[in-house]
């Protein structure tokens, strides 16, 4: 692989940070310290981190309701994200957005999105802007396999294919959309196969393998930057937690969960890097400290003041 262990370290660290961030969130929700709901990304880290590792801050991504991992992987600040989840004014959305509606425009994160597959047209529009301005950056639109059954999937990919826009459509197939199992909602074995219907390449990728994700991302990003048009990537992956905080996971077995966890993306990357247990412990301590700091920052941050709506609803 192209990256040295030294170069891989920040990616391993980022995957670990996302994992620990989500685990802490799960506790915070359980203890009632955070209100609302949240969709945890744990298990899917290799997808966000592998793909964002081939982007720069000039590239854009759009995300979903399950967006914390994308936010952090794209370079968003963990403290700010935690503050948003606590409903504090120091969050990127100043407490107005919450878990499903965060963005960080400084790093090209155009937003998580509470509407399933709502981000695909947005990403397509950003890619059209790049095309019109003849820039060399590109866009990734992340969505779940559930989202790929929305009309926006078809409309967006078709448009991007006609116009050869610089964009990657990344479907994170984690097998379940809430409780709906893949085979209940799809009559074909893969979603990537749909790419043929739009005249673009489609690829199934092992989403637990950082290297496979990154390699597929590199190919598709190169294609995008060279003006050859969009690519559809289907990342086969698994979410470790329930859909959202109230989910008891009755639609799947503990055996199936254990089987996927035995192929954990972080552990696989660690092993391939020959990263020792001790080194991992040290890295873990560092990451946990960062999460602690994020929680501390969020708890200390002020509540948003009630706003004059005329001042904030319109630009």
């Amino acid at each position: 692989m192209d990256l040295s262990p030294q170069e891989l370290l920040p990616h391993l660290r980022m995957m670990l940070l996302i994992r620990r961030f989500e685990e802490r969130l799960d506790e915070l929700f359980a203890s009632g310290l955070i209100k609302g709901t949240s969709h945890l990304y744990a298990g899917q880290e290799a997808v966000a981190v592998g793909l964002c590792s081939v982007l720069t801050h000039q590239d854009y991504i759009t995300s979903t309701h399950r967006g914390h991992g994308h936010f952090l992987a794209k370079g968003g600040d963990a403290k700010a994200l935690m503050a948003e989840l606590f409903g504090k004014v120091t969050g990127p959305s100043k407490g107005r957005g919450g878990s499903q509606h965060v963005a960080d425009y400084r790093v090209g994160f155009l937003g998580s999105n509470g509407i399933t597959a709502g981000g695909l047209p947005i990403a397509t529009g950003a890619a059209l802007a790049i095309h019109l301005r003849q820039e060399k950056n590109c866009v990734i639109s992340f969505f779940g396999e559930g989202g790929s059954n929305q009309g926006t999937f078809h409309e967006s990919i078709n448009m991007a294919a006609i116009w050869r826009l610089p964009i990657l459509y990344v479907c994170e197939n984690n097998l379940y959309a809430m409780s709906t199992r893949y085979d209940e909602a799809f009559a074909t074995p893969t979603i990537a196969a749909r790419a043929a219907g739009y005249g673009i390449p489609g690829e199934v990728v092992d989403g637990t393998d950082f290297f496979a994700v990154r390699a597929a991302g590199e190919r598709a990003v190169q294609r995008a930057r060279q003006g050859e048009g969009p690519t559809l990537l289907e990342m086969q992956t698994y979410r470790y937690y329930g859909h959202s905080k109230s989910d008891k996971r009755e639609y799947r077995t503990r055996e199936e969960e254990a089987e996927w966890q035995s192929r954990d993306c972080i552990e696989k990357l660690r092993l391939s890097m020959h990263f020792s247990d001790e080194s991992l412990h040290a890295l873990d301590a560092e990451v946990l400290h960062e999460v602690d700091e994020a929680v501390e920052f969020a708890m200390q941050s002020p509540e948003p003041a009630v706003e004059e709506w005329e001042d904030v609803v319109y630009a």
Partner: protein, 332 residues
């Protein structure tokens, strides 16, 4: 001054803004050489090329979403939705995305985008091609709603809408496209005029009754006012021009003067534009009212196709006259 069609005024606005700002571009179904369903964009593709006058597949929701995505990274798209009825397909991207992004992402982005929509009936197009759905958008915080009645306002408001940093839902009346009005020559000193969003205009003055209207109904209200003058009823006509944000001050100033208000709107009566205007008048002008606030709006029915049925369903000058006379007889 010269007289040009409402549709030409819109085209000029787009052409001038595209010339002024390279970030402005147009997106929609059959808008290039074909010129759009009502020929409003005719000639623009030849002038600016098919990159900036971009034909799309028939995908209203994604057309609007693509507009939002381009807008948040610095472009100024003008989206053309062929008939206003088809915003039903695009409500998610308009309501949950265009209108909310600025607010819900903490002010990090702006959505400077215009959605142009030919609205209203009068052409026997039937129930799915004749609706006036602007009240739906008035109900959504974060998007402005504009509905010009004249060629002059059409050009000036469209320019303002394109320059605005917020999404603007632009209501055009199909029947107005072919109506001419005075518009300054582009190279005249006031050629680059704009009309501010959020300002209503008093187009007739009279002491007895305020007629409040917008878009095509402004002309009907003016016709009614001119006729009523002959029977001794003098009307103010307030052309709202912008529906969101509504210019309550201009409306209130007129109603405080006349003490009577009749609201005219081409959309359906129940929970329509007229309902909001009447509520505002009741809230703000109660002490000045000499009569209940009444309205002339479309019947609560799909807009029928047959000419006779359509005429029966939609408001017009005669219905306004009848309502005004009845009001003044009852509350002299």
């Amino acid at each position: 001054m010269r007289e040009i069609y409402y549709s030409w005024a819109l085209r000029e606005a787009m052409a001038e803004e595209m010339e002024r700002d390279p970030n402005v571009f147009i997106l929609g179904e059959d808008i290039a050489e074909y010129g759009g369903a009502f020929k409003v964009t005719q000639g623009l593709a030849e002038k600016f090329g098919r990159e900036r006058v971009r034909n799309t597949p028939i995908s209203e929701n994604t057309i609007c979403g693509v507009g939002v995505g381009a807008a948040i990274v610095g472009m100024r798209p003008v989206v053309d939705i062929m008939f206003q009825d088809f915003i039903t397909l695009a409500m998610d991207q308009i309501v949950n995305h265009a209108a909310k992004f600025h607010y819900m992402y903490g002010g990090q982005c702006r959505v400077p985008m215009v959605i142009r929509t030919p609205a209203g009936g009068g052409r026997c197009y039937g129930p799915t091609h004749s609706q006036s759905l602007e009240a739906w958008l008035m109900h959504v915080p974060g998007i402005k709603v504009v509905a010009p009645a004249t060629a002059y306002d059409a050009k000036g408001l469209l320019k303002s809408a394109i320059r605005d940093d917020n999404p603007v839902f632009f209501v055009e009346s199909k029947l107005l496209y072919g109506i001419k009005g005075e518009v300054p020559e582009p190279d005249a000193p006031d050629g680059d005029y704009t009309v501010p969003i959020g300002e209503a205009k008093v187009t007739r003055e009279g002491a007895h009754l305020t007629l409040i209207a917008y878009s095509r109904m402004t002309g009907e209200a003016e016709k009614a006012a001119d006729a009523l003058r002959g029977s001794g009823i003098d009307c103010d006509v307030v052309d709202l021009r912008t529906l969101a944000p509504l210019d309550g001050d201009t409306v209130a100033a007129s109603v405080e003067k006349t003490g009577r208000a009749l609201v005219i709107a081409e959309d359906c009566k129940t929970a329509g534009v007229s309902a909001e205007v009447m509520a505002r008048v009741s809230e703000e002008c109660f002490d000045f009212l000499k009569a209940p606030v009444r309205r002339v709006a479309a019947a609560d029915t799909p807009v029928p196709c047959a000419d006779s049925l359509e005429k029966a369903a939609l408001p017009d000058a005669q219905k306004i006259i009848d309502a005004a006379v009845a009001l003044l007889q009852q509350y002299p």
